[in-house]
């Protein structure tokens, strides 16, 4: 029988049965209980204006479509508002699951250029958003210290923060990304 409906076929080789285990182990332990009700999609502020569907993402994760999930820029449309996590009738930590998948994506080399930039700033200054000249001026005008009492004005603290990022592998992760990206 033929009809005009195009049916998407999922190939066996696209399925990674271990993917969902990794997500469960990393903390989204109830993800397998998903009933595809769509509450997550219906409350999502990003989904209101884009093709991003949280339900679809969860379904693909459950199917083990690892590469498709990790390479999709949709993964980065979640604003982490936690509304889906609050409303899920199965109490799945949906937002946590998304964050876990993002971690796996970054580990596999999928990172947006703007996000690499913010990470590099964190590595070099201890702040993902370092101070700039205009705000230094504003601080002085308002009678505040020109540099806040953070890693911006404490070299030892900055070195400690950098050492932590070295020990957790963040330095290698981002600099590795940089090499691949550049």
């Amino acid at each position: 029988m033929t009809d005009s409906i195009s049916r998407e076929t999922i190939d066996n080789e696209d399925i990674d049965p271990d993917f969902v285990d990794t997500i469960v182990k990393a903390g989204a332990d109830r993800i397998r209980t998903c009933i595809q009700c769509g509450t997550c999609s219906s409350v999502c502020p990003s989904g209101r204006r884009t093709a991003f569907r949280t339900r679809e993402l969860i379904r693909k994760a459950l199917l083990g479509l690892k590469d498709e999930v990790l390479s999709s820029s949709d993964l980065w449309l979640c604003a982490t508002c936690y509304t889906c996590l609050e409303r899920c009738p199965r109490q799945i930590k949906v937002t946590d699951a998304i964050i876990i998948m993002r971690n796996i994506a970054v580990d596999q080399g999928f990172m947006l250029p703007e996000h690499k930039k913010a990470s590099k700033k964190l590595l070099s200054t201890g702040h993902a958003v370092p101070i700039d000249d205009a705000n230094r001026e504003m601080r002085k005008d308002l009678g505040l210290e020109e540099f806040p009492p953070t890693t911006h004005s404490n070299k030892k603290a900055l070195e400690q923060v950098q050492e932590i990022m070295k020990r957790t592998g963040f330095k290698d992760l981002i600099e590795g990304q940089q090499k691949e990206g550049d």
Binding site: A26, P45, S46, R48, R49, T50, W76, L77, C78, A79, T80, C81, Y82, T83, L85, E86, K93, T95, I99, R102, N103, V106, M111, L112, E114, H115, A118, S119, L122, G126, H127, A128, V129, P130, D132, N135, M138, R139, L142, G143, L144, P148, P149, T150, T151, H152, N154, A157, L158, Q160, V161, E163, I164, M165, R167, T168, G169, F170, L173, I174
Partner: protein, 284 residues
């Protein structure tokens, strides 16, 4: 906040001591780090850096307080993680080895508005010397102040009123508007990487606020603050008209005005969206 909004910081430093809260800076703190981005990239790094900031507070013997929902989210979630999974605390302690950082996760992290809410609206009302009359406020709580609700101190999980009550304690009117608890659209790395979507979310909220006829937005988060301030300028630029001109102010700026402090000392002359129409209404 100190790097992006020194004006809000100035209002916090001016107002809190007048409520009997003494602030002590954590020397050498770093980025919290940001829950939407750094936690999304490498969770163990996020946990270790958040724990370092918490450790600095713990070693000083004080609670940690923050004026930003993003930082608040990071600290509350990092504490919940090590309390629920003691092996994660051990993992962090291992990273800290030989660094002179003592950390057992026994410190409390609070939001400035949480501390003010503990004092209560009646307490605030007594501090008001110049009631804010005839001003309609659109209150924006922000997501990470309230959610995930199981790791937050509020009595309810939704339909919160504590911030509305604190706003009304200044004499202003908290105005109902459509989807008031919806996200501002900035978090999760969305503003950083997908600006069109991010600003469109803010636009929906701004349109609802305009519809409700508010005189200003009151928020308690540096990232929501940034989102409302800069998105309005961007939307006006795209439109070629000045439709979006709602002053965006931080709670301690509103409270400071109600306590008779002058607008300059509260950093109110340092906003992207002009606050003068609001100030004219309040100061007459």
């Amino acid at each position: 906040m100190p790097n992006r909004f020194p004006n809000l910081e100035a209002s916090i430093r001016a107002v809190l001591p007048k409520l009997g809260i003494q602030l002590e800076d954590i020397d050498g703190a770093s980025c919290c780090p940001a829950p939407g981005v750094i936690r999304s990239f490498d969770e163990p790094t996020w946990l270790a850096l958040a724990s370092r900031n918490l450790a600095l507070a713990e070693m000083s013997g004080h609670d940690l307080i923050t004026g930003c929902n993003g930082c608040y989210g990071t600290f509350k979630e990092a504490l919940a993680e090590i309390h629920e999974h003691p092996d994660r605390l051990k993992e962090v302690q291992k990273v800290f080895k030989g660094m002179g950082l003592k950390y057992d996760g026994k410190v409390e992290a609070k939001h400035i508005i949480e501390v003010i809410a503990e004092l209560g609206p009646d307490f605030i009302r007594k501090k008001v010397t110049r009631p804010i009359r005839g001003v309609k406020v659109g209150v924006h709580y922000g997501c990470h102040l309230l959610k995930p609700s199981k790791n937050r101190p509020w009595k309810q999980t939704q339909r919160h009123t504590f911030l509305d009550e604190l706003v009304e304690a200044t004499g202003a009117e908290s105005t109902k508007y459509k989807d008031s608890t919806m996200c501002c659209g900035a978090g999760g790395g969305v503003r950083g990487s997908q600006i069109v979507v991010s600003v469109d979310i803010a636009k929906e909220k701004l349109d609802n606020l305009i519809e409700a006829g508010v005189d200003c937005i009151v928020n308690v988060c540096s990232f929501c603050h940034l989102q409302y301030e800069t998105s309005q300028a961007q939307l006006n630029k795209e439109l070629g008209e000045k439709k979006y001109q709602i002053p965006v102010i931080y709670y301690t700026q509103l409270l400071g005005l109600a306590m008779g402090l002058n607008p300059t000392e509260l950093g109110l002359d340092r906003h992207v969206v002009n606050t003068q129409p609001l100030l004219d209404k309040i100061l007459g």
